[in-house]
Symmetry: C2
Subunit: 323 residues, 2 copies
């Protein structure tokens, strides 16, 4: 028996996310025409939207619980890149049919990550059609402390959190394009399915980083956004890219580094820090417990120049494109 849009929303999403959080800044959540929310005084609102489409952003075989988790994580990652505190979420879910088993697992994944990060699902829309998930994540940041892509200056050091390339390797494993030991497979696939939004790192970088973004399209493409927006160039030392043991042992050094540069969906933060702030950075990220690596330096000029063992690379790596 088909169930109505209202019953769907009610049954699967309303209770879990609202009850789990009980944020006092949600004055009206799901159930009216719009949500009413209280942004803290002296804070600015931060808003980001991402869409995930079946067959493009995830495989049809994906576990709905993991899909929900990842959809939210990707959006929280964008808020992290701005230095924001995540607070609220809206979900637009397009489904081929009202499959209650699928929905209950999807809702479980959504509720889990919402509770973990203390965010509330405050609105949404369910429609019938090809499986598509659009999430809008909302947060706030103390006025004029948000991070942007455009502040990098020559001499600033370039950093990334965590490791690069694991997610892309995990996707290759899921698609059967790569083989790995059981342990490595589990590690890499998990990095693809359950990326960690670097919220604490993003908060810690307020007042420290001169530019910041999250790595969704791959280091090559995303660093290009920073240098273009900032009107500078960059020097990247490929030897310094942080690689996991699992990636290195599965792909070998050469291919691992290529994937670290080209592979998307790491959802680590890529940021630049002036020399004078390096001490503050170590303290701040140390307290947040986030590993980070210096991979190069911002230079005057334009474009990204890759170096391997001190030698410039001939060919620049390409980034991932949706179209």
């Amino acid at each position: 028996m088909p169930i109505s849009e209202f019953e769907l929303i009610e049954r699967f999403f309303r209770q879990g996310c609202q009850r789990g959080n009980q944020r006092k800044d949600v004055l009206m959540g799901i159930g009216d025409d719009a949500a009413i929310l209280r942004v803290p005084a002296n804070n600015q609102l931060v808003v980001t939207t991402d869409t995930l489409v079946e067959g493009i952003h995830f495989l049809p075989s994906i576990d709905p619980e993991m899909l929900a988790y990842k959809s939210v994580a990707v959006n929280l990652s964008d808020l992290a890149a701005m230095g924001a505190d995540p607070a609220w979420l809206t979900l637009a879910l397009t489904l081929p049919r009202s499959d209650e088993t699928w929905l209950s697992r999807f809702a479980a994944g959504l509720n889990q990550i919402c509770e973990y990060y203390g965010i509330a699902l405050v609105g949404g829309d369910t429609t019938r059609g090809p499986l598509t998930i659009t999430l809008t994540a909302l947060g706030h940041v103390p006025s004029d402390q948000s991070l942007s892509r455009s502040g990098a200056k020559p001499g600033d050091w370039i950093f990334v959190t965590g490791h690069l390339g694991d997610s892309a390797a995990g996707l290759k494993l899921l698609k059967g394009e790569l083989q790995a030991s059981d342990d490595h497979r589990e590690f890499l696939v998990t990095r693809h399915l359950r990326p960690t939004p670097r919220i604490l790192a993003g908060r810690s970088l307020r007042g420290i980083a001169s530019a910041c973004l999250d790595l969704s399209d791959g280091l090559a493409g995303d660093l290009e956004h920073i240098v273009t927006a900032s009107g500078v160039g960059a020097h990247v030392e490929i030897d310094k890219l942080p690689l996991s043991k699992a990636l290195l042992e599965t792909l070998g050094d050469e291919e691992a580094r290529q994937l670290a540069i080209r592979g998307g969906e790491d959802y680590e933060l890529l940021f630049t820090v002036p020399e004078a702030q390096k001490g503050a950075l170590m303290t701040a990220l140390g307290e947040a417990g986030v590993s980070h690596s210096c991979i190069g330096q911002i230079r005057a000029g334009s474009g990204i120049h890759y170096y391997r063992e001190g030698e410039p690379l001939q060919q620049a790596p390409q980034s991932f494109r949706h179209f």
Copy 2:
């Protein structure tokens, strides 16, 4: 030649909407990981999300300019129902291919309505897949003055703005399920394709209406939301439903009233007003220049009871369901 996601966003949406509005409360618009926005002091944030799917919410033959207009109008209508001032918009656009002609027309429609209502497109995501549009509209309302569905009390009068049923008739005409004179056809089809978000009316109802929502699923279903949320019943006089001349002449009295009750997508406001506020209502809506009609009264109890020439109707009309 395929164009990239970034070029797409850049070319079609960035300039028009941002330049057209230049809202000073947009501290960071399109082009970073998230938008940074300033909510006015002593205001609460209002957020709503809606998805439109090809084949479900619009016909594949629809003009992309009209589609963009309507997608935005539907979301602004939700903000209007809360009494909010619309301010910002994010767009998640899923497209089968990067069709530049389609995109330029879609962007033209989007820019047009954004400029008309003074709202800024502040973020978005373009992905490849079956045509789906998700918009998140954001606005604000002076603290504790928002309207909700749950405040209707026995004795309150039930009102609607504008006319009912025109949009549903327009859809039937587009689908070839109905015939009309050229003039009536144009009027009804326009009401379907270009609904008017009742923003001024919503603002005017602050402090006056006890409950409010916008009519998207049809009077029968939407009034049920008010009576359920408010814990009351309703008495609706079918003779008092406001019908356009075009609808009456195209369908005849009986069918026109059925469509006014069951037909969706009118995007008029349905609201309740205590007897003591009726004078204030006339003044407020008169100043906003919005026609409105009293169609019944809230009663103690539950459910909606329809009356025709003083006699109760035997069968309650059904509302539109997506699933």
